[in-house]
């Protein structure tokens, strides 16, 4: 489905509209913003890929502690690096106003699963907490606090007691959060 860099075909636009939670205006805006991220040579390629560094400079992602994970999760390339326009639309669709709790929590789980093994183990949780509190030594929790916090989380959420939080356990916790749907959102 080669989208030419300069403009989006009418058929393609309505197809994207069908496949995502985005409106026509949102798709056009996304296309404009995506094109700005491409270098001059890339714009002429059939299915160009915006490099990760360029995507991370977007103001919507710049201050997000999970920005690198977000790009990795939505990237379809072999090396999990850079996004095509369709990847970018997938990202915006999952973070849009109208995406369902199920979809949002699915992607949140994948973003927090730092080693991509399909389950949140102690290392994933530790990285997640460090992202939340800030990465510097001064802002991190002490090792004892971290241990205590992780054992708390596992005690509360790990229903089958296998030492990790799997997708359905994760979604069970998230479904009790009143703010998740409204805060898991990135709109251009």
């Amino acid at each position: 489905m080669g989208a030419t860099a300069s403009h989006l075909g009418k058929d393609l636009l309505s197809e994207y509209q069908e496949l995502t939670f985005l409106t026509k205006q949102e798709i056009l805006l996304a296309h404009k913003r995506f094109t700005e991220l491409l270098s001059r040579e890339d714009k002429n390629l059939p299915d160009p890929r915006a490099p990760t560094e360029a995507i991370l400079t977007l103001p919507e992602l710049k201050s997000n502690p999970f920005r690198e994970r977000i790009v990795r999760v939505f990237s379809t390339s072999e090396s999990r690096d850079g996004l095509t326009f369709e990847d970018f639309l997938d990202l915006l669709s999952a973070f849009s106003d109208s995406a369902t709790l199920e979809i949002k929590s699915h992607y949140a789980f994948r973003i927090f699963d730092f080693d991509d093994d399909g389950t949140l183990d102690e290392n994933d949780l530790e990285k997640l907490v460090n992202c939340l509190t800030g990465e510097t030594d001064e802002t991190r929790l002490t090792p004892d606090e971290m241990k205590q916090l992780i054992s708390n989380i596992l005690e509360e959420s790990d229903i089958d007691k296998d030492g990790t939080v799997n997708l359905s356990e994760f979604q069970h916790v998230i479904s009790r959060s009143p703010d998740f749907v409204s805060s898991f959102k990135i709109v251009l």
């Binding site: 973070f95 997640l128 939340l132 001064e138 205590q148 708390n152 959420s157 916790v173 703010d179 998740f180």
Partner: protein, 510 residues
């Protein structure tokens, strides 16, 4: 709603509903951004100090307006006094007679001061009830869902770097607070019976130690007062007179400076939770401070009237004014001459022995709140004798806010241990109430020939007015003024607060 936890509503308070109006009002509160910055770096405990300061500022603003309306306004028309004395003090306000017995300056003066006191009382009791209710409710739900805090903790809509830094701080401080509380209660639950026995023996003996320190301090202040009084009555040289004049004040200040630090050490030995430690230090220090202030005020009263000054009220007002100014100068000078140089030294030469010796600076909430309560008590004590004191208090608190903010953000290191503000907040207001009651006792002493009540007693001037009223009104007024009526009035306030305040509390305490 109780705890400003969910980051979504801290930075984007977009929820609609019946409380949208309250939230809009909350955004209009003074220094909101500064308080958020302090909270994200230092936690709710230290923010509580600044919230308390802001609350006192509002109260003093209200007092200033009342002073202008009741006391300064009526006096402005009376030019005679202007040239002789300054409107700062009691003696300026004359007792010129008026054709209406109920509209004389004396009565307005009295009404002004009484309105200030009763409004303070109502506002304080109300605020205390609100804070109490809040801490009680928080105590009810100790089981906090930490997984939710972590797994849905980040607000992905945040774009601003400063807002993101703020959110990192808030999340970190809240997590630390919960984890420390949990670890403490776990340790408490694991104590064996003999360990409890040892701990209780330790606590009881430490309390006895504190009591003996307090008793010793009062005895020292009292005896230094009596002793220097005796010495002053005998003729002596200039330096000796100066020494004995200031001996009681110096003794009092030294004790107030030293003992709170001992109290802090004591409460760290008692192995309470950090919130309780803060509260215990605060309680012990405030008793010392208010009681020594009481002794000091009593002493001034006595000497002023012994000296046969024609207007001892002016003298007393001047002393209160001095106390407020001294306290103010002390806090500013300490920030400028101690905190700031230490900080600069640490930045320029972190490995110097001097820099390492001074250690990390901490913002001690109990001591700072102590000063605020003390300051407010002096302001109340002086308002009758020095009516412009609330205006001075307002200016002082605004300046103090910026100095303390500077101190905390630039000179102090972030705390590793967090404490909860809710229970402390009840205590702060209770101590303020205690100060108010203490001060109310000094009103209505028989006045000197100057000022609005010239010669006659305070009750005399009201008597003139009451006597001109018809009979039934007179008796009902007497009933209203009696003690048995005031107590149920205060009691009635509490359930009223409980019913009306339901969910809007978080806003009040923000």
């Amino acid at each position: 709603v109780w705890e400003a936890w969910g980051p979504a509503h801290i930075i984007h308070p977009r929820r609609l509903g019946p409380w949208a109006g309250w939230e809009a009002l909350g955004r209009l509160q003074l220094w909101r951004g500064a308080l958020h910055t302090v909270e994200s770096r230092f936690g709710v405990g230290i923010k509580a100090y600044f919230v308390f300061l802001r609350y006192l500022l509002y109260m003093n603003l209200l007092h200033s307006v009342l002073v202008l309306a009741f006391i300064l306004g009526p006096a402005a028309g009376d030019i005679g006094g202007f040239l002789e004395r300054s409107p700062v003090f009691y003696g300026f306000y004359s007792s010129s007679s008026s054709t209406y017995p109920c509209l004389n300056p004396a009565l307005l003066y009295l009404t002004g001061v009484l309105v200030i006191f009763s409004l303070s009382l109502i506002v304080l009791v109300r605020r205390m009830a609100v804070a109490y209710r809040r801490s009680w409710l928080l105590g009810q739900r100790h089981a906090v869902n930490l997984s939710l805090r972590v797994l849905s903790g980040w607000d992905f809509t945040v774009q601003d770097a400063a807002a993101a830094a703020l959110m990192h701080g808030l999340i970190r401080n809240h997590l630390k607070l919960y984890l420390q509380e949990q670890a403490f209660s776990l340790r408490e639950a694991q104590r064996t019976l003999p360990q409890w026995g040892v701990l209780y023996t330790l606590r009881v003996s430490l309390n006895l130690f504190v009591l003996s320190l307090l008793g010793g301090a009062f005895a020292l202040i009292y005896s230094s007062t009596v002793w220097s009084n005796e010495k002053l009555s005998v003729e002596a040289g200039f330096w000796r007179t100066l020494l004995f004049q200031y001996l009681p004040a110096v003794t009092m200040n030294l004790l107030n400076l030293l003992l709170p630090h001992i109290f802090r050490k004591v409460s760290s030995l008692e192995d309470y939770s950090l919130s309780t430690q803060v509260n215990a230090t605060f309680m012990r220090s405030i008793f010392l401070k208010l009681a020594s202030l009481g002794i000091f005020v009593f002493f001034i009263f006595k000497t002023d009237r012994q000296q046969g000054d024609s207007c001892w009220e002016n003298q007393f007002g001047r002393e209160m004014y001095k106390l407020v100014m001294l306290d103010f100068m002390a806090s500013i000078l300490i920030t400028l001459l101690v905190d700031l140089p230490t900080r600069i030294l640490k930045d320029t030469c972190p490995s110097c022995w001097l820099a390492r010796l001074s250690g990390k600076q901490r913002f001690q909430v109990p001591f700072n709140v102590l000063n605020l309560v003390y300051n407010q008590t002096v302001l109340w004590a002086g308002v009758f004798y020095c009516p412009l004191l609330p205006l001075l208090g307002t200016v002082k608190l605004v300046t103090l806010f910026y100095f303390k903010k500077f101190k905390v953000l630039r000179c102090c290191a972030p705390e590793q241990r967090m404490f909860r503000a809710a229970s402390s907040s009840v205590l702060f207001h209770f101590m303020l109430l205690l100060g108010l009651f203490m001060v109310a006792g000094t009103l209505g002493l028989d006045p000197s020939p100057c000022g609005p009540f010239a010669g006659g007693s305070v009750l005399n001037s009201t008597g003139v007015c009451v006597a001109s009223l018809p009979g039934p009104l007179q008796s009902s007024l007497r009933y209203l003024a009696s003690g048995p009526f005031v107590v149920p009035l205060i009691m009635a306030e509490i359930p009223l607060v409980r019913r009306k305040r339901n969910n809007n509390i978080s806003l009040l305490v923000q």
